[in-house]
């Protein structure tokens, strides 16, 4: 199982993953689950009523709009990077935070490398499953490498033009 790194208030740490991802053809284990979108749509209601915490994994070509009305009930949205260079999940993450006000965990899964850390953090990801073996310390250093940012995004960082006014 890949390491899960959570990053809260600029501080990254390795954590135990309380969720199990279940593919469409797997039996349901006990506990808190991350489901595919289609499985969530058929079985999510029952699982939530059992008092479990539930998350959904969206593939890069699945759009966050499909979850719009379910988000308040979800604990995690995992967004997939089928490869390093596929940037669709950045838009999904940003919309989750900015447009839908999602307060749960937004997790980066798939081909997730530390070179993306800063970008991921800025569009609203707060949990990461690095595919490059990064430690929490390495991840934090990469995510905060740039001291300034040029534009608004889904994080609270003030762009340079606001720093200049101050």
């Amino acid at each position: 199982m890949p390491t899960l790194i959570e990053m809260i208030d600029g501080s990254a740490r390795s954590v135990d993953d309380g969720f199990v991802f279940v593919a469409d053809d797997q039996d349901l284990p006990e506990g808190d689950l991350i489901l595919t979108l289609s499985r969530f749509q058929t079985e999510g209601e029952v699982l939530l009523s059992q008092g479990r915490r539930v998350g959904v994994k969206l593939l890069a070509d699945q759009e966050v709009e499909a979850l719009a009305y379910d988000l308040p009930r979800l604990s995690v949205v995992a967004l997939d990077f089928p490869k390093f260079g596929d940037g669709r999940s950045y838009s999904n993450a940003r919309l989750l935070r900015e447009r839908y006000g999602f307060k749960g965990q937004v997790r980066a899964v798939g081909d997730v490398l530390r070179e993306q850390a800063g970008f991921l953090l800025r569009v609203g990801f707060d949990a990461f499953e690095p595919a490059d073996g990064s430690s929490a310390n390495e991840w934090q250093a990469a995510a905060l490498r740039y001291r300034h940012v040029f534009q608004r995004a889904a994080d609270a960082r003030a762009p340079v033009y606001l720093e200049r006014e101050a």
Binding site: G85, G87, E115
Partner: protein, 551 residues
Amino acid sequence: MYQYDTLDKAMVADRAAEFRGQVARRLSGELTEDQFKPLRLMNGLYLQLHAYMLRVAIPYGSLNPTQMRKLAWIGRTYDKGYGHFTTRTNLQFHWIKLRDTPDILDHLAEVDMHAIQTSGNCIRNVTADPYAGATAEEVDDPRVWAEVLRQWSTFHPEFSFLPRKFKFAITASPKDRTAARVHDIGLVMRRGRDGALGFEVIVGGGMGRTPYVGPTIREFLPVDQLLSYVEAILRVYNRHGRRDNKYKARIKILVAALGTEEFTRQVDAEWAKIGAEINLPDAEVARIRAAFAIVDFETLPSRSETFEAAKAASPALARFARNNLKPHKRPGYAIVEISLKGIGETPGDATSDQMEVVADLGERYGHRDIRVTHEQNLVLPHVKLDDVPAVWAALRDAGIATPNINLVSDIIACPGLDYCALANARAISIAQLIADKFRDPDRAENVGELKIKISGCINACGHHHVGHIGILGVDKKGEEFYQLTLGGSGAEDASLGAMLGPALPYDRVAGAVDTLVEVYLRERQPGERFLDTFRRAGVAPFKEAVYADAH
């Protein structure tokens, strides 16, 4: 000119430090070439046929003498004493060693330069009218908005992994010197009926395998809403652009597949949901604008007796003035174009010595302002007419006073098979052979404006689709052949060239261009450029002449 402040400098320094770490990991073997490739490609470092190539960003083609001297020094220290100015108004060093690149980035950072976003599937260097701030034609200074876009697009967290690279061009003049209509986004500034400034927004133009002149999706976008609107365009593209085939991944393919109307509807729907807080505050726009408004022009008569006398005494200067000087908005000043298309030279190349000469001239006579054009020439935008003779003499001594701006030998050519791993055929030597045919400057001037553009492969880095005469290198069973197109234009009258006929072998191309020009000279009516004659007369007379001996 815009000056980097401590915040801009910190961004560049942080990037250089990050790349130093990545190169160290590569050199130690911690990273394989496969893993390193996407990282170096985020820093303008390509592996070409013979060596690494480093592409240095020159935002909107604007640089000061200190920066130009640094480029010259890097060329001399780490390359073979020259650099290559590109159609993206960047500078490439073609003979770089990987282990030197961290030091080179540090040297660049000393003068506020970098290689950020000169490669990769991100928003590339924004290009702007090279005459910005100098021409009387413009309704505003497009560099202000190019700088706004530079800042917004730098390390954009959502748009750094697009389906494909993404290029903006911006002009504020009716005469388009940026090829705005063949860019991913072209912005043409104009004033609305009430006098307010806005942009015509053109999306989905491009060259490559599937060329398009981009459609206008918004006739008038108020300037203060620029960032929210382009963010909407980029988001629609990032989410819906094709990622399964790199040759169908540019935004032009999405626009064409959806149709202009549906694409526009999607952008407008997204735009309606984006908050206005994305737009840049007026105070920041004002700060940027102030940085471009500082040229302390003198009040001069519009006629310079010194200049007139020098021209009368020197036909060569007079010829240079006819072709390379453009009108300036201030009386007594001129825009001076410096051709990097010397006969027999490589288009866009400048030696370190030449760069230093241009830097000195910019320092002494040019208000410390130097521009790079997308046609791979340099510009001193603010030169007093009184000083033109001295500027010309210095350029002549450096071998860069070729009086051929917009003429037949002012050719765009990609690096082609001499450097590039993608090329099918040589482009540079074709340009040299053509230029040699028109070595006689009287004949070249008689022919007038004629834009020849040469690409060594279908990726069209040499912009052949929009050449008045376009030349595309193709491989036929291991031999170099060239497909000619006529009637393209990248300017305000943008159009794509039409095929002339079967591809020609290497040694027939320059002769065919000569024939095309002879047909034009025979057919032209008063005031017609080559392009106008072609548009009026059609392909038939040209085709007949070039292929006559095949019948």
